[in-house]
Amino acid sequence: MQDAVATIGRVFIGFAIGSLLAIALGTLTGSSRRVEQAVEPTMQALRTVPTLAWAPLLLLWLGIDEPPKLTLVAIGAFFPVYVNLVSGITNVDRKLVEVARVYGLRGREIARRVVIPASLPSLLTGLRLGLSQAWLFVVVAEFFGASAGLGFRLTDSQQSSRVDLMFVALVCLALFGKLSDSALRALEHRALRWRDTLGTERSA
């Protein structure tokens, strides 16, 4: 029980940090060509680093307490959100932006009234991917020196051959992963009712 609370807390905080940073940076990158040129190549390179490869460095720098675990989860959540948001922004229909320009709207107004709503579908896709990544990395993070958490419970039970506890942990992970994804999906469904897609048709 304690383990579940610890893990959920880490996912929640790490995911929040990672996705908020991704939204901030993604918005900047998507809206300014200069920022894009400065940041994009670095991001592309960092993205190809398997998130796990950060673990040893984070343990060394941030100790074995909460910070390295949260950071790892945040990194895991960051990239899917960032990549999807940037591609969502750059794929906004130029024709819709033109309509806004005809009405004399400029940069920030266009961003608020056209670009943000138009890139919302990609952002939500990114958030869902980011969330599943967060679950993945929280378990990994807890494998390395944690004293509580579902990941810790798994390795600990392995050593004491408690298969039953291992199953409880696995079922918990499946349950929480599914529940949190469903919550995001419900949000997505509500926010994107306007979309004319196979998905919205089926649920209409």
């Binding site: 033109e98 309509v99 806004a100 005809v102 009405y103 138009a118 009712r193 306007w194 004319d196």
Partner: protein, 251 residues
């Protein structure tokens, strides 16, 4: 409230390729001018320049006393496609260009304009629930609600079937007669040109220049079967055909 529109010697090149080769055109306040010409001759480019979406050209475009240097609220545009914002309802789309769209005055204005184009029952519908003709009517309402002094229409009824097109032409005339904006309509439908316009302007193929201007005499409301209109249509066809054979001879 409308303004004359003046184009003087408009030249435009794309990648060193002359698209507009010195277009001159004066449109009176409240007049309807149809611009016809072979497809790809630069008609749409001309509208983009007037709307201020593209400011890289030579020559002078003036709306009333002011030169066009960028998008201006005095100029409204209806594009070839409806270009509705898919996340906004019809009413939300129509209200898009209103600065005071949250006030009750604006709400009333939006409802009225939606009513003019016959979409009242669909005011709260999302664009995905509309047919092509309804979507284009919503786009028309969005352009009309700000009462632009000059309204530009770029083959607005192009993608619609013949019946819907005729209905929309009448919606457009009804809307125009409410406050009489200066109206420039690009089309390649000659029937549409002679039915709607006071004058029909012919453009040549690239680089586009004004070759001919026909005045449409019959008073409104016009009858589509009016022999005068049919005669004008024939004259237009001949002018366009002449154009073509001159080109063939030259090429």
């Amino acid at each position: 409230m409308s303004t004359p529109l003046r184009l003087a010697n408009i030249r435009k090149r794309y990648d060193g390729f002359a698209v507009l080769g010195g277009v001159d055109l004066d449109v009176d306040a409240g007049e309807i001018v149809a611009v016809v010409g072979p497809s790809g001759c630069g008609k749409s480019t001309l509208l983009r320049l007037i709307s201020g979406l593209d400011t890289r050209f030579d020559g002078r475009i003036a709306v009333g006393e002011r030169d066009v240097r960028g998008p201006d609220r005095a100029v409204g545009v209806v594009f070839q496609e409806p270009r509705l914002f898919p996340w906004l309802s019809v009413a939300g789309n129509v209200a898009f260009g209103l600065a005071d769209r949250d006030t009750s005055r604006a709400q009333v204005l939006v409802r009225e304009t939606i009513d003019v184009v016959g979409l009242a029952p669909f005011a709260n519908a999302l664009p995905k629930e509309l047919s092509g003709g309804m979507a284009q009517r919503a786009a028309l309402a969005r352009a009309l609600v700000t009462e632009p002094q000059v309204l530009l229409l770029d083959e607005p009824f192009n993608a619609l079937d013949a019946f819907t097109r005729m209905r929309l032409q009448d919606h457009l005339l009804a809307a125009w007669s409410r406050y009489r904006p200066t109206l420039v309509l690009v089309t390649h439908d000659l029937d549409e040109a002679v039915y709607l316009a006071d004058r029909v302007v012919l453009l040549t193929d690239r680089p586009a220049r004004v070759t001919d201007v026909l005045r449409v005499v019959p008073a409104r409301p016009r009858d589509r079967r009016d022999p005068n209109l049919l005669g004008l249509r024939v004259a237009l066809l001949e002018a366009l055909h002449l154009e073509r054979s001159e080109l063939d001879a030259a090429g």
